[in-house]
Subunit: 346 residues, 2 copies
DNA sequence: TGTTAGCACTCAATGACATAGAGTGCTAAC
DNA sequence: GTTAGCACTCTATGTCATTGAGTGCTAACA
């Protein structure tokens, strides 16, 4: 692949991303000033097509990049496009404005992602299954009512009102809390073993009833929050893309958007890798819609991967821009979460 | 409006709701067996059109109901269509399965609404601005960290970790909690007056720092939760309606769906009234999309209106069905919330 | 007087057909 | 190796005729 071929491919990718129209040789010669005539470019294009980097929608139309073409572009030709001052400023401002709990951070992240990229944003909520108990407390509330609170080391908080016998005193609750803390601190919900539970029940035999409810809370939290939740933002943006100016495609797209489970799997898929992953068209498997690409990256807190964020757009996507945004946002998100978890404000 | 005219109008409304095609005189005569010939029906239709109940999309097409026609239908002709056994069963089952906190109830309600009606469901979350403090507690967590918990009388719980000086003892926290409870119990967040705050600060002068943070939590909760949140479900359903088989309309519709603020206002609008409200086409004001109707109803807990639920569909909507569903669901929702708030399980 | 059959008329939807224009591939000249 | 020229391809667009559902009106009928 010589230098000029690369330039031609780059021109085609750029122009197609820009206009969504097949690119002709004349356009390239005129707009991208490679210093050669359309005829020469036509020769190069014929070669590029032969090698599978571009294709013709039909005989005698311009060329569009193939998936392989996009891949080559992303791997070798693309140059990172830093965020503008205004964009960085926007992110900073929005995050500082209102981020009190994890839910809000996730929400805000999704909003920003879709706003900055104009595509659909997907944010996976942090997994609690792998977060550890930091503190457990049973609090007396009023006449025969108490509340169980479990604070996890990722900052998540589970709570539930429970009914307790009137005979239970604050002191009892204190005792129960102490035992639970001693046994569970540092463990993940998933790793609570049966033997451990037996130990606890043995030690607190008198309060079996309360323990039942506490365990139930843990059980529910686990099963509820283990099934990843996803935040979607800017689905609407996709409709402005010309490739979705057709009702059937919109329907397929939206029906996929409603299958949260599927999206979670797709997002989580990139977890193994470090940094930003770009998947182009068919590289996203189990996928019944074509012409989409996905750019994802995991975010982590204190070195542990907690979830992923991603952007879904047409294959004709502004890769350079989106890769930068996703990269920047994971870092910002990790940072923010970390700060939150360490007490958030001094 | 004589009996036969009503029958003709009814036939037109039903058939149009069913097929989304303009209804001709022949169709009515054949399908709805009024015992008269198409020519007679044509005469009646001419009258109905003159009175503004139906209209012709163009000369020599069939007729479709006008907004006035739908209104007449809803007010006088429509017969309530009870839910089927299966539907009631479905609702019962789904609610019992997983409803632990208010968020889940709202979510589930939205899902059910859209599933049962095949239109777009909207559920307004309960307003905490008008809920009252039931119990406030500051809990020691660990070395210089504590948690503020506020339980509201509608079952909502606000919490936040706060940093406290190491000198603070559990006893201090107990004292603070007691004072806060004494002063605030039974009040809404909105109605905390400045004089009251001064009183509290005076009484707990030593703990100014902690109070600052507690007040901040209240402030944030108020401003955050006062701005109504809305749950949308089944937006995708609308795309199956033939009136939205055109990209421009889909775009308008979805862009409206993204303006949560607007939707909240619309939903909240029906709050004043008791029971189910039907708004047809232009009766929904501040609305730039035509051809939509909205069926809403407020739900209440312990006699106080807490929010609304609603269904948005095309004007060509199955009014009878949707009205029943919305009615049934508000009642079920109110009931469920009430049960939850009273401790939820015995 | 209300109902019905008959008929001419209207108009959207459909499909056939011609035309324009963008872009190509190939050839031959530079 | 590059370029101008040219014939060719194929979509998009517009025109026109045809079809058929449905109407309104008139006149006949009970």
């Amino acid at each position: 692949m010589d230098d000029r071929k690369q330039k031609v491919l780059l021109a085609i990718v750029h122009d197609y991303i820009d206009t969504a129209e097949p690119v002709g040789s004349r356009t390239i010669a005129k707009k991208y000033r490679l210093g050669v005539s359309p005829a020469t470019i036509r020769n190069e294009m014929a070669d590029l097509e032969e090698q599978g980097f571009i294709e013709q929608p039909y005989t005698s139309a311009g060329r569009i990049p193939s998936e392989r073409g996009y891949r080559y572009y992303v791997d070798y030709l693309m140059r990172k496009q830093e965020l503008s001052r205004e964009e960085e400023e926007l992110i900073r401002r929005e995050y500082e404005a209102k981020v009190r709990d994890i839910g809000q951070v996730i929400h805000k992240t999704g909003q920003l992602l879709s706003k900055l990229t104009h595509y659909t944003a997907m944010v996976l909520t942090p997994r609690v299954g792998i977060s550890r108990f930091k503190h457990i407390q049973i609090v007396f509330m009023q006449q025969s009512q108490a509340m169980v609170i479990a604070v996890m080391d990722n900052g998540a908080v589970q709570h539930r009102m429970i009914e307790v016998p009137e005979s239970i005193t604050s002191l009892d609750m204190e005792t129960i809390s102490r035992v639970l803390n001693a046994k569970l601190q540092g463990l993940t919900m998933r790793s609570i073993k049966l033997t451990l539970i037996k130990e606890i029940y043995l030690e607190l035999a008198r309060h079996e009833h309360i323990l039942d409810m506490v365990m139930e809370l843990f059980q529910d939290s686990l099963s509820l929050e283990t099934e990843d939740k996803i935040y979607l933002g800017g689905v609407f943006n996709m409709l402005n893309q010309p490739e979705f100016h057709n009702v059937e495609k919109i329907k397929t797209l939206l029906s996929i958007m409603e299958q949260e489970k599927l999206l979670c799997d797709l997002l989580a898929g990139g977890d193994r890798t470090e940094g930003v992953t770009v998947r182009i068209g068919g590289e996203i498997d189990q996928w019944d819609i074509k012409e989409c690409s996905m750019i994802t990256a995991p975010y982590s807190v204190c070195g542990r991967k907690m979830g992923s964020i991603g952007v879904l757009g047409p294959t004709r996507m502004e890769y350079a821009k989106v890769v930068s945004v996703v990269d920047y946002m994971t870092k910002y998100l990790s940072q923010t979460l970390e700060r939150m978890i360490r007490g958030w404000r001094k």
